[in-house]
Structure formats: structure tokens, C-alpha cells
């Protein structure tokens, strides 16, 4: 039972992070390899607001969330916008460079020590006993809930929201979208904002649950095979991929070798790339779009 709980929690983490990769890729064909660092930035922003609004956790969280959305939009407007129209690979390398830059800046501002925004906000994290014998910490449970809510919201927005339809349209045919009056830069900025927002929420919850450490970037990087295994342009795929990767990781730590935890997602990724490169639910043409 505890094993199942662990899988569900890990899958929720990966899914919440993975939807950020999917959002940006689906809309602009760019793989945002700085997502892990942006996620960590969100957690640091929560730390900063927690220290500034120490009496008022709700305000701290709200401000941090708003800031993350702004950061995502700004990253697009000031950096990635210059790379639209260039080769996708150059744009991806730009995100890699951005990630490196962010990592250096975060250490410079906040130092590399482990931080505890939960303590700064005055939250405690008691374990909840579940029927069947498993235990789950409060914030892990909140995270699972947030993942479900986020995915529901995204599904509704992309399916029925006017700008959701426009985002899908821009992803399918950017030229036609522009010819139908859609401002591509606005759509891309929105995608980056939403992606950074969801990633930051994941980062904040992880930090509230188990602290802010360097491993957060590694978690972000491990979530990316989840997105790819499911299909880089499919939200449903991200959920499925997250479950598969989380299950593989937890089970192999339990039954094979604990050291495998960091490499299992990539082994699953390699297997998927060999068998079905476009992922479980991805669109097949993606492969030829280099």
C-alpha cells in the first residue's frame, strides 16, 4: 500500500512538472530545458515572499504565484521571442543556457544551502494515515490534489476556452494562425507563463513538503522523460508517462537497486524512443519536424 502511495505521489510530481514541457512544446515546438530551474525559482520566490509577508501565508503564496506567471511571460518576451523563426535546436540550446544562468543567479542570491519555506510560512507537515496502512504527508496530498486540479483546468481551457483553441491552432499551423489575426507572440507568451506557473507550483509544493534543495532541478529533468514517453504534445500523454515513469522508478528502487533512481526515467525514455519515438499519445508527424 505504501508503495502505491509513493507511486501516486511521485507520479503527481512528474505530471505537474511535465505539463509545463507539454504546454510550451505543443504551442511552439520548443523544448524548454530550463523548466527545472524555473521550477526551482518558483520555490525560491515563495521563500522570498514568505520572509517578506511572514505573518500572512496566503498573501505570500498568492504573490509568489503571481510572480512566477510574470517570470514565465518575461522569459518569453525578453529572450525566447528573439529565437522564434530560428531553428528549433537553437531555441532549445537557448533554454539550456538560460537554465545555467538561472542556476548561477539563484545560488548567488540565495546561496546553495537547503532552505525550508514551510518553516518560514509557519506550516507544519504532519503525516496523514490512509486506509489500508499507507501514510502520506500533508503537502504531498495537497500536491496530488493540485495536479488533478491543474490538469482538469488545462483540459477545460484548451478544449473550450477561446484562447485555448487559439493556442492549439497556433501549435498546429503558426502561419495560418497569424493569417487569421492571432498574435503569435501573445500566444507563446501565454504558453510560457502557464508553463512556468504550473512548474512553480510544483516546485513550491515540493519545497513545502521536503525542503528546497539542488535535487529539485534533477527532479525537473527526470520529469521530462515522462512528457516524452507520453508524447510531447499531449497532456493525457504526460499523465500516462508520469505514471509509468514513477511506477518504474519506485519499483526498481524497491526491488532492484536504490542507485537506479536517477537513471530509470532515462532507460524508459530510451526504450520508448526505440519502439515508438512519438510517445504513447503524441502525434506522429512530430518526428519529422526537426
Amino acid at each position: 500500500m505504501q508503495l502505491t502511495v509513493n507511486i501516486v505521489v511521485l507520479a503527481s510530481i512528474y505530471a505537474l512538472i511535465a505539463c509545463g514541457y507539454v504546454l510550451i512544446y505543443r504551442v511552439s515546438r520548443v523544448l524548454n530545458l530550463a523548466h527545472g530551474e524555473l521550477m526551482m525559482l518558483g520555490a525560491y520566490l515563495l521563500l522570498a515572499t514568505a520572509n517578506s509577508f511572514s505573518g500572512n501565508p496566503a498573501v505570500a503564496i498568492a504573490v509568489a504565484v503571481a510572480l512566477s506567471l510574470t517570470v514565465g511571460v518575461m522569459v518569453y518576451v525578453f529572450l525566447m521571442r528573439k529565437m522564434t523563426g530560428e531553428m528549433v535546436l537553437a531555441a532549445v540550446l537557448t533554454t539550456v543556457a538560460l537554465g545555467i544562468l538561472l542556476r548561477g543567479v539563484m545560488v548567488l542570491i540565495w546561496s546553495a544551502q537547503q532552505q525550508y519555506p514551510g518553516q518560514a510560512l509557519g506550516f507544519s507537515n504532519p503525516a496523514i494515515a490512509l486506509p489500508g496502512g499507507g501514510r502520506i504527508s500533508t503537502f504531498a496530498a495537497i500536491l496530488v490534489l493540485m495536479t488533478a486540479l491543474t490538469y482538469a483546468a488545462l483540459f477545460v481551457f484548451l478544449r473550450f476556452g477561446t484562447w485555448g483553441v487559439r493556442m492549439r491552432a497556433a501549435g498546429q499551423n503558426p502561419l495560418l494562425a497569424a493569417q487569421r489575426g492571432i498574435n503569435l507572440h501573445a500566444v507563446y507568451a501565454l504558453a510560457w507563463g502557464l508553463s512556468t506557473l504550473t512548474g512553480s507550483i510544483a516546485g513550491m509544493l515540493i519545497a513545502l513538503d521536503s525542503g528546497l534543495t539542488n535535487t529539485m532541478v534533477i527532479i525537473g529533468l527526470k520529469a521530462f522523460p515522462a512528457a516524452l514517453v507520453g508524447g510531447l504534445d499531449s497532456l493525457v500523454g504526460a499523465l500516462a508517462g508520469a505514471l509509468i515513469i514513477a511506477a518504474a522508478e519506485v519499483l526498481s528502487i524497491q526491488y532492484i537497486d536504490p542507485l537506479l533512481s536517477d537513471v530509470v526515467p532515462f532507460l524508459v525514455l530510451i526504450a520508448m524512443l526505440v519502439v515508438r519515438p512519438w510517445g504513447l499519445f503524441g502525434t506522429r508527424e512530430e518526428l519529422d519536424r526537426v
Binding site: V165, R166, R168, N173, L175, Q179, R180, L184
Partner: protein, 266 residues
């Protein structure tokens, strides 16, 4: 009649190396249907794209000349800006969003300054122009037949409330019956909405059927222009574009040599 669109000595260069269009001059009067004719590679699509705007990935630029819409210069602007000014392009390829339904295809375009009610009214009007689409509201765009897809493409263009509608290669890949039907709808739309239409066609017979005025392009230049009577009665047009030859049999070699050495007169 006011001049709606004026293109002067347009020159378009692709990839900073290939000049696709050299010195095209044409003008479109309000309320007209203007045809741009020519064979493959004549520069017709490029001219339309130059009017409606290039994206960065196209790596194309208007390097000389000008495009003026209602007196304002609009060359080298991004497509979404040009659309908001009132010019909408129905492209030749990839003319609909393949993974969106018909209804979503009509919901996606961004129409300036329309309230929700006005938007719904507009969509209803468009469904009246194309009743077939109303029945297909939930069908995925990529699964439509050729004719239905062309209808959807024009319909989604009309959502943006254009004053000038540019249509690239309407008849390509469609059965003559379907083309005839679409052409008649275009005339009807022109009458109902009062918009101006420019159609680019390889099939001169189809285009000259509904056009008021026409330009013939060859190798990136305008070689002939005139109103419908002039074009359809012009000997060279009859021979090379309408397939009607005048008089005795000629050998293919004669025709080819004549084509190489002939001179177009304005």
C-alpha cells in the same frame, strides 16, 4: 471607384538570394473581383504572400517597391497585423487547422473589435453562405473533403471581417462542379458583404468567368492586364491559357519557338 490596394514595382527576395517577384505593379478597385493568372512559378502566390505578410520562418522580404492599402503602406508587416487592417489571405496549402473541428476552426480566428453577440451573428451569416459547413460543425478539419475544406478555409477567413479577401489557387485539386459552385458563392458573398476579392488561379477559364479585371504574370513580372473582355479576346491568352488556337494546325516546335520569341504588348 476608389483604389483599395495598390502594389507598386514590388520585388520579393527569398532566403536573401532568390528574387521571386521583380517589379510587379497592380491595383485593385473597391468592390472588384480581380484575377491574377499565370503558370507555375510565375510569382502569383508570392505576390499574395507579400501583400498579406511573411513570417520569420519564411525568410522572405519585400526588398523594393510598396504595397499600399487604403493609402497606407503595409509591406513587411507580420500577417496578424495585416489581417487586423482588413486583408485576409486564404492560402493555397495548409488552409485549415487540421486537428480542430469546423466549429473550432471558425472560433479560432481573431476578429478585431467584435462583441460576443456580433461574433455569433457573423458565424451564423457565414453558415448561411456555406450551409454544408453547418452540418459538419463537429467534424475534424483534416477529415473534410477537398471542397469542404476550401469552403471552411474561405469561411474562417470571412470571420475576420475582411475588406479585401485574397484567395490562392481555389480550384487546385477540386472537381469542376465543385469549383463552379465555389465561384458562384464568391460572387454572392461579394454582393452580400460588399468585399473586394483577389483570386490567384492557374486555370484562366475559371478565373475569367467571375473576374472583372485580370493580370497575367510570368517569371515574376506582369506581362498583360485588362478587363475581362480584353483578356478573353486576346489572342495569346486564348492560345496559351484558354487552349483555343486560331486557325491551322501548327507543329509543337513552332509554338515553342513563338513562345520564346514573342513580345507582350501592354
Amino acid at each position: 471607384m476608389t483604389t483599395l490596394l495598390s502594389v507598386e514595382k514590388l520585388e520579393v527576395v527569398y532566403h536573401r538570394a532568390i528574387t521571386a517577384v521583380q517589379g510587379i505593379t497592380l491595383s485593385v478597385q473597391q468592390g472588384q473581383i480581380v484575377a491574377i493568372l499565370g503558370t507555375n512559378g510565375a510569382g502569383k502566390s508570392t505576390t499574395l504572400r507579400a501583400i498579406s505578410g511573411f513570417l520569420g520562418i519564411d525568410d522572405a522580404r519585400v526588398t523594393e517597391g510598396s504595397v499600399a492599402f487604403k493609402g497606407r503602406r503595409i509591406e513587411n508587416r507580420p500577417p496578424n497585423e495585416v489581417t487586423r487592417l482588413g486583408i485576409v489571405l486564404v492560402p493555397e496549402r495548409e488552409k485549415v487547422f487540421p486537428n480542430l473541428t469546423v466549429a473550432e476552426n471558425l472560433a479560432a480566428p481573431f476578429a478585431p473589435a467584435m462583441s460576443n453577440a456580433q461574433r455569433r451573428e457573423r458565424e451564423e451569416l457565414i453558415y448561411q453562405f456555406f450551409p454544408r459547413l453547418a452540418a459538419l460543425r463537429a467534424r475534424i478539419g483534416g477529415l473534410l473533403s477537398g471542397g469542404e475544406r476550401q469552403m471552411l478555409a474561405i469561411a474562417s477567413g470571412l470571420v475576420c471581417r475582411p475588406e479585401l479577401l485574397l484567395i490562392d489557387e481555389l480550384s487546385l485539386g477540386l472537381a469542376p462542379v465543385v469549383v463552379e459552385d465555389l465561384m458562384q458563392r464568391l460572387v454572392h458573398i461579394r454582393k452580400e458583404l460588399g468585399i473586394t476579392i483577389v483570386i490567384v488561379e492557374q486555370s484562366a477559364a475559371v478565373a475569367l468567368d467571375i473576374a472583372d479585371y485580370g493580370y497575367v504574370l510570368e517569371n515574376g513580372r506582369v506581362v498583360l492586364d485588362g478587363d475581362r473582355e480584353r483578356l478573353t479576346s486576346h489572342g495569346d491568352i486564348q492560345e496559351f491559357y484558354l487552349g483555343q488556337s486560331s486557325g491551322d494546325r501548327r507543329s509543337y516546335r513552332d509554338v515553342k519557338q513563338y513562345r520564346r520569341s514573342r513580345r507582350w504588348y501592354g
